[in-house]
């Protein structure tokens, strides 16, 4: 194992898993099974270029443009594709909209299916066993762990992404945002609100955060 000269200021030796990964990566490069420049390009795309900023644009436009909102619900691939958000793990989109008496929440109990094109790679908790096991059987309890409480008469619809269909939640537009344009509204939209574990932020919440 070649020594990595950049690790001098690290006091702990690399973990077993880090060594195992480094070993496989160098094997794949040596065998010509991967191009190192390709590895860098893929990481750059999914770490920096694709993420919830895409989904926020889609939701903010749906909130401000009723025709776009209708198009998004009926032809989600075309409406999302209008922004150029297309590709892997977003080939077959379904958009579900929260309403005063309906709240949607998305999970993948069998693995980690998630709409990469609009939300990027999924957060750790979405891929974790606690979330995957209980989102379907105890959605109210799961929402409470995110600090989200819903009135008892709100129907909770859980979407288990077992197929290649990918789900995006349009949260409810918060009160007190009349006249706001799409870029301003984007600040209220969170990744978690587009998975359905939280609501969009209220204007008060972002003002507090800015103080």
């Amino acid at each position: 194992m070649p020594h990595d000269g950049h690790d001098h200021d690290h006091t702990e030796p690399p973990s077993d898993i880090a060594l195992r990964v480094k070993s496989l990566e160098s094997l794949l490069i040596e065998k010509g099974l991967v191009d190192p420049a390709t590895l860098d390009a893929l990481v750059d795309r999914y770490e920096h270029r694709v993420g919830p900023q895409n989904g926020k644009k889609v939701v903010a436009r749906a909130w401000t443009d009723p025709k776009y909102r209708d198009w998004l619900l009926i032809e989600p691939n075309a409406a999302i594709g209008d922004f150029g958000f297309k590709g892997r793990q977003g080939e077959h989109m379904v958009v579900v909209e929260n309403e005063p008496k309906v709240h949607n929440i998305v999970v993948c109990t069998l693995c980690s299916c998630y709409p990469w094109t609009v939300l990027g790679l999924p957060p750790v908790w979405y891929k974790s066993a606690p979330y995957r096991s209980r989102a379907v059987s105890d959605p109210r309890g799961v929402l409470a762990e995110f600090g989200t409480t819903l009135a008892n008469d709100v129907e909770i619809r859980v979407w288990d992404s077992t197929s290649e269909m990918r789900y995006l939640v349009v949260p409810e537009r918060p009160a007190g945002t009349d006249g706001w344009d799409a870029p301003r509204l984007e600040k209220l939209i969170t990744r978690n609100s587009m998975i359905g574990v939280e609501k969009a932020k209220s204007p008060d919440e972002i003002e507090e955060a800015a103080e």
């Binding site: 898993i17 040596e30 099974l33 191009d35 795309r45 750790v124």
Partner: protein, 218 residues
């Protein structure tokens, strides 16, 4: 298979403890970044499909699957795919040294980015007429295949209602063996009490995507 991956409805796995959204990194360790990259990159070689790669993770010992972190499961899955495809040997994985060069040409960065930007649709053009329509009641078959399936255990034997026809999609159970078979794919709505009994969250429902071979008329 009834493996460690089929988690819906399990108890005892602890609190979710989500990281704060504004503070969460995409990758938490540099090795996760590497696993993500070489898993996607080797997938682009076209030697295995998405259902084969899912099955390569699922078929681990359930204790390992549940105890491993997410990218550890990806690592094991990718090793399994590479071994199954004959692209590497156990000996090479153990040594980290190549015994011979591979007879494939890996995609360069531009080709790889074009491939992920294009995606790979799972629907197929097939002259298949769906047997069910929205509003029909269906029961998920009580079956326990030892191979790959996307019918979660918690739905089997239960009755739901078709709410939507997604189209004709590749059937994952046979796709895992390299067969591309187009069958109708539906969204099936299960009332929570049907799945979970008297302890169910009141006024909730679970929607699950189901391929026609999983369904019987109810």
């Amino acid at each position: 298979m009834n493996g460690g991956h089929d988690l819906g409805g399990m108890h005892g796995l602890g609190p979710i403890n989500p990281e704060k959204e504004t503070e969460e990194a995409i990758f938490h360790e540099d090795w996760e970044r590497k696993v993500f990259a070489f898993t996607v990159a080797t997938g682009l070689l076209g030697e295995w499909n998405i259902d084969e790669s899912r099955h390569a993770r699922e078929r681990q010992h359930p204790v390992d699957y549940i105890r491993n972190s997410y990218y550890e499961n990806w690592l094991t899955g990718t090793e399994n795919c590479l071994l199954d495809a004959g692209l590497v040997t156990e000996r090479e994985i153990a040594s980290g040294k190549a015994d011979c060069a591979a007879a494939v040409t890996p995609p360069g960065p531009e080709q790889a980015l074009n491939a992920v930007k294009a995606g790979g649709p799972a629907d197929v053009d097939a002259p298949v007429t769906p047997a069910f329509k929205p509003g029909d009641r269906v029961r998920i078959k009580n079956f326990h295949p030892a191979g790959h399936t996307r019918a979660p255990r918690y739905t089997r034997g239960h009755v739901g209602k078709i709410v939507r026809i997604h189209g004709i999609h590749i059937f994952p159970d046979t796709h895992k063996d390299g067969v591309t078979e187009g069958v109708p794919l539906y969204s099936v709505r299960f009332e929570a009490a049907e799945l979970w009994g008297p302890d169910a969250t009141r006024g909730s429902a679970v929607h699950v995507d189901m391929w026609e071979p999983y369904l019987d008329k109810a």
